[in-house]
């Protein structure tokens, strides 16, 4: 008899999501759905607004990665203005984006995920949180706090605020760097590098302990999408889109921002407000791909900084071809923090970094503007269309969590297949479903780790609606 397992709620704040797992007549998992039931409406209510307001408006999409939206939006505005922004503005935008990646990855790895890894996925939720980590591994907890503080500190030095800085604008940035700020940032980067290296060390030494999770956490062939620079190197700000396969072969390369529509389609499902982007040539849903740190490390030819390049070589020893397990998003995040710290240090040494020319000014000179950048969680696309007065007539946002939507659904299904048998929910199902979602670090993961406790209920229900098994944590 066909049955459905419902997990709701998945989260508490950004939450508004649930998971259902459908069983077939034989009691085996037939499908899994990750429902995002929250409606934000940004694409709609931005219509009619002057395009110059878009960076500030769209930054409010998120309190964790407003910098990412500021950047993609500012790039789309650059495009509408048809300007080439000053080189120093590009460098300063890069610094803020790298600081954003540093602080966001620190939040994901140390605050949200390290408690699982260090205390055990099935340890007592009452202490499976960063304070529990502080009790057993105090240096790691302090490192996590400090790393995020450094990333946020650099954002504040540049933009005046840690959250929602208004510093990035169409045409560049609204204030140059001064020598005092440069010294401050330059002084922070080496400490961030040291923290990232120290923690990547224990993570790599612990990999054997995570064998089961690496095998079962969204570990499947897929495509990978992200930006690379003109030489195929790791890129977070500019460059072109590249799409690779599970064997590591490049399927699409050199795709400019304006051509993303030829590469990607967007499907919708009636069970979720989150869109389902897919690779058009493979169709929907076969065109599933992943974005974010795992994808970026899989598709880049090299990182471009010394320590990150060494670590990238080691990372690629995990598997011939692309690294497929989403568990290794965690590994990739730490390498990207190393890259960010190294690159920020390089940029602070750039002889032009104090140049006062940081903004090009113009009115709108095009009716279509597209900005693509790499947010911590993956590729972020802002696509605006404006009328001749500069007002938005159409806005399309494709965010990283959306790109990963198909893969997250597939990941939940993979975990469910392991933890559901004979119409019964095995011990550990709740924790593993949480953890596989957390690998992708969707905005939802913020709420799914409320100091170790995600309110969750999984029900096994018959087609008549009778609950035949359930597990719950309040």
């Amino acid at each position: 008899m066909a049955q459905t397992i419902t997990i709701a709620p998945v989260t508490r704040i950004e939450g508004h999501a649930r998971i259902t797992i459908d069983l077939d007549d034989a009691g085996q998992v037939a499908d899994a759905h990750f429902h995002v039931t929250q409606f934000r409406g940004f694409e709609k209510f931005c219509e009619g607004r002057p395009f110059t307001e878009m960076p500030a408006l769209t930054a409010r999409t998120c309190g964790i990665c407003p910098v990412s939206h500021l950047m993609a939006s500012s790039k789309a505005c650059d495009d509408l203005m048809a300007v080439t922004i000053p080189p120093t503005a590009v460098k300063l935008r890069r610094v803020m984006n790298l600081a954003q990646i540093m602080q966001s990855h620190a939040l994901s790895f140390f605050h949200l995920s390290s408690p699982d890894m260090l205390l055990g996925w099935d340890s007592d939720p009452a202490r499976r949180h960063v304070l529990g980590v502080a009790a057993d591994h105090p240096q790691i907890a302090l490192d996590g706090i400090r790393l995020r503080q450094i990333g946020q500190g650099i954002i504040e030095i540049l933009g005046g605020k840690k959250v929602h800085p208004a510093w990035m604008v169409g045409g560049g940035v609204n204030a140059p760097l001064n020598s005092q700020a440069r010294e401050q940032i330059a002084g922070l980067a080496p400490e961030a590098l040291e923290i990232a290296r120290r923690n990547l060390g224990w993570f790599k030494r612990s990999l054997d302990n995570y064998h089961d999770e690496a095998e079962s956490f969204a570990n499947f062939p897929s495509l990978f999408l992200g930006l690379v620079d003109g030489d195929g190197g790791l890129e977070h700000y500019d460059g072109q889109l590249r799409l690779t396969g599970p064997d590591g072969l490049v399927l699409e390369d050199g795709v400019e921002a304006h051509d993303y529509g030829f590469l990607l389609g967007e499907a919708v499902e009636d069970y979720s407000y989150m869109k389902f982007p897919y690779y058009k040539k493979r169709g929907y849903p076969d065109g599933m791909y992943r974005v974010g740190p795992l994808a970026r490390l899989n598709l880049a030819d090299y990182a471009g900084t010394s320590v990150a390049d060494q670590e990238l070589v080691a990372f690629r020893q995990l598997r011939s071809g692309a690294v497929l397990s989403s568990f290794h998003y965690h590994y990739a995040r730490l390498i990207e923090v190393i890259f960010a710290a190294e690159r920020i240090a390089e940029l602070m040494d750039d002889p032009d970094i104090l140049d006062p020319h940081v903004r090009a000014k113009a009115r709108s000179n095009r009716n279509v503007g597209i900005g693509v950048a790499e947010a911590p969680r993956g590729t972020l696309i802002h696509h605006y269309e404006i009328d001749d007065d500069g007002r938005i007539t159409r806005c399309n946002l494709i965010i990283a969590t959306g790109h990963n939507n198909l893969a997250m659904n597939a990941g939940v299904k993979q975990v469910a297949e392991r933890f559901v048998s004979e119409n019964h929910l095995e011990e550990g199902a709740l924790n593993r479903v949480e953890a596989v979602i957390r690998c992708f670090d969707p905005c939802l993961s913020c709420a799914t780790h409320a100091l170790g406790q995600m309110p969750m209920r999984i029900e096994l229900r018959s087609v008549e609606g009778v609950v035949v098994d359930a597990v719950q944590r309040d």
Partner: protein, 159 residues
């Protein structure tokens, strides 16, 4: 040695009276710009990273808006670290939870005082209602007086 006092005003500056904490903190930052031993932070919310700053302080002063008070009413309470970690989130904390993080992570428990100002409107706005603006002026004066008292008498009483 003079006590070190950390003042944190927090709230959304886009939701009307929720900006009371940041407004008070901004004015205190001006008043204390030349004063040694006092730091002022304006925050959207309390985040774990503030525990690092709090750990270096002898006293922390929190200023926030409250929905459970009448508009313009001011409540001053001493804050102790909470024993309950279950509702605490990673992205934002309340003062008692931040004090818990400070104790657990850094082994420090500075004395802490919270001023809560009752809000009258939390609609989208960057203005305070007049009654809350008046209450903010009162809290600014009150915190100034307390800082003088704490620094002059070294009354910080770390737990």
């Amino acid at each position: 040695m003079e006590p070190y006092i950390l003042i944190i005003g927090f709230g959304s500056t886009l939701r009307g009276d929720d900006a009371a904490g940041p407004a008070v903190a901004a004015r205190l930052a001006e008043r204390f710009v030349a004063r040694s031993g006092v730091s002022v932070c304006v925050e959207a919310s309390l985040t774990p990273e503030l525990a690092a700053l709090a750990s270096a302080a002898d006293r922390v002063v929190f200023i926030d808006c409250a929905a459970d008070l009448a508009a313009g009413e001011v409540r001053q309470v001493e804050v102790a670290p909470t024993d309950d970690t279950s509702p605490a989130m990673v992205h934002f904390l309340d003062p008692a939870a931040l004090m818990l993080w400070t104790r657990r992570l850094y082994g420090e428990t500075p004395a802490a005082t919270q001023f809560a100002i009752g809000g009258g409107s939390f609609e989208a706005s960057d203005d305070l209602t007049p009654i809350v603006a008046n209450a903010c002026a009162f809290v600014v004066a009150r915190v100034e007086a307390l800082v003088d008292q704490w620094q002059n008498t070294q009354e910080v009483s770390r737990a």
